[in-house]
Amino acid sequence: MSDKTGTALRAATIAVLVENEAGVLARVIGLFSGRGYNIDSLTVAPVDAEGRLSRITVVTSGTEMVIEQIKAQLDRLVPVHKVSDLTLEGPHLVRELALIKVVGTGDHRVEALRLADAFRARVVDATTESFVFEMTGNADKIDAFCALMRPIGLKEISRTGAVAIARGTSALMG
């Protein structure tokens, strides 16, 4: 991957710890749209017992200089506690959750169940004509599963986008 000047692009999974206050997500999203940065996926939820802190995981791509800019721009937002480039900082886990609805009868149902088993997707809803599968994994695994389901009755997909965490003992705060 490269931009139009030929500078190499890279993907980055960035974890951002923010004050859980009104408008904070709009600040982060506005920063990306206003400055023309990509968002491949973005997830957010409170992560502490009191609900004062939220963790945003954003997957983006750009030249090294743009990714450095993104991190610096995020870091200077007033409600941002910590910004961490998990891609750069070392081994980390990335997971996504997807709910996948497949509609069909006969052989297609059997095939759908067989593939789901192979991919460790769970059936969380079933009717005589449909399944909803739940699966977690990285984006590639979910993409692959969806591609296989397409010819056998894939109807609808709902995905969370990536959440990520560093391996080992290190943590975003402290």
């Binding site: 009104a22 408008g23 709009a26 506005g30 200089m65 610096a72 721009q73 200077r76 007033v78 941002v80």
Partner: protein, 600 residues
Amino acid sequence: MSATIQHADSTPLTMSGAEVVLRALKDQGVEVIFGYPGGAVLPIYDAIFQQNAIRHILVRHEQAAVHAAEGYARSTGKVGCVLVTSGPGATNAVTGLLDALMDSIPLVCLTGQVPTHLIGNDAFQEADTTGITRPATKHNYLVKRSDDLARVVHEAFHVARSGRPGPVVIDLPKDILINKAPYAEAPPASQPHRSYRPQAEPDMGQVRKAVALLKASKKPVVYAGGGVINAGPEASRLLTEFVHMTGFPCTNTLMGLGAFPSQDKQFIGMLGMHGTYEANLVMHGCDVMLNMGARFDDRVTGKLSHFSPGSKKIHADIDPSSINKNVKVDVPIVGDAARILAAMIQAWKEDTTPQDREALASWWRQIEEWRAKDCLRYVQQGKIIKPQHAVKRLYEITRESGRETYITTEVGQHQMWAAQYFGFEKPNRWMTSGGLGTMGYGLPAAMGVQIAHPDALVIDIAGEASILMNIQEMATLAQYRLPVKVFILNNEYMGMVRQWQELLHGGRYSESYSAALPDFVKLAESFHGVGLRATNADQLDDVIREMLATDRPVIADIAVAKDENCFPMIPSGAAHNEMILGPGQEGGVAGVTDEGKVLV
């Protein structure tokens, strides 16, 4: 008898939200607030009426309130304060807020809001103010709980003035202003904010690395910007000390004028699109560049791929996001300019490596050759007043007067001529809209400066087009007897637009002629001021002298040459060594490519 309600910690609450706001402003040292009333902020206006600690200046348009607060802030180093109503009050303020954001000016702007229970209902004069101002402010708040009110006001001032300064909006629903609210003192400086902790102290390792590079340099330059001004007058003093001890040439950005004295022999003028020949060629040819508090703006760098190709770059900035944004640098230093300069002076003394004095002397010989080009030369002959001459004479005559002088500008050719021909020896004397380029900035900014410095000479160097963008503020000048001088370089064109149309668009002067201009002399008189006019060169000095001697608002309408262009100029898309010089001077005349035409 006023009703009191019990707060959770059983302290009786005696103050309304509006009174809490004013108390917090007072505790933050606010003396003046620029504003315009309206329904949603009536409780604050009522509280203002009943106190004497804070003076309110009634402007005639909310945009002007923000620019006035900017002028106040830039000329004093304090946080400027603005008060406007909800809806149109807030939206009118947006241009000023973005102006302050781009130029890093500390402001706190209080906006009224409809009561909390009506938010989202499309109520009368409702606007999503925090949504609209989010990209136009450093930070903003919507106060939905009375308990948060005092804390938010204190925090807003802290955010506005610390780190890279900027504007902060506090949106105040009317019920929050009317209901009783608890007061809380500002938290002590020792208690840091939960998440916002800008770095002011530089890393000494980086400072020493920078000094080592500078010591080894043969063709150095110091390029200083608005960050030095924002760091306070001490930073300018330290910059001057550092430049003197090193013997380096120093150039200032538009925002940095006054950070280094213009009369100093080591000053090589402003750099950038309309900077001096010598400053731009020094930037192009240097081997080590020290950027102190500037941000490699596109007006300064010209074509990025050709910007100062052979130099090692040191970038000192308080905002880490400014570093490596446009230009990749070799030694970044994050921190406050005054502290970085103090650290660099100390490190320079400690580093025993001798300087290459011979190389520096030869660099200066080269610079003197470039300087000899005298790129700001113009010829004033005949009766038609050259705009450059008008500014030069204004500068010389104000200097002779010995008065403390503050200059503001509007935006366009006159702004660049003011930057080129008016010299500044001290920081905080020059107020101009650099980043956003806001026409209509100068008059209200001058108003704010004059409020802060009642006895000083405050001059708005203006163009006839820009001045009309906030001309209503003449009424504010009259009301508060502010003797601001408006010095209009009247060429009957939006001059910079006309210049670009001449150079880039085949001389097709599309909509850039200032038709149907008012009679500025009568206009001044109708606003209870004094109108003066100079139409030929013989009258110029007399008009300037009379303007300076008049202790009232003055508009001096100076009819200048209509087709004069602002030179030197680096055309868009060109590099520093491809600048266009004025007529009759040699220099690389670069053609403008389509790629360049795309740029503004």
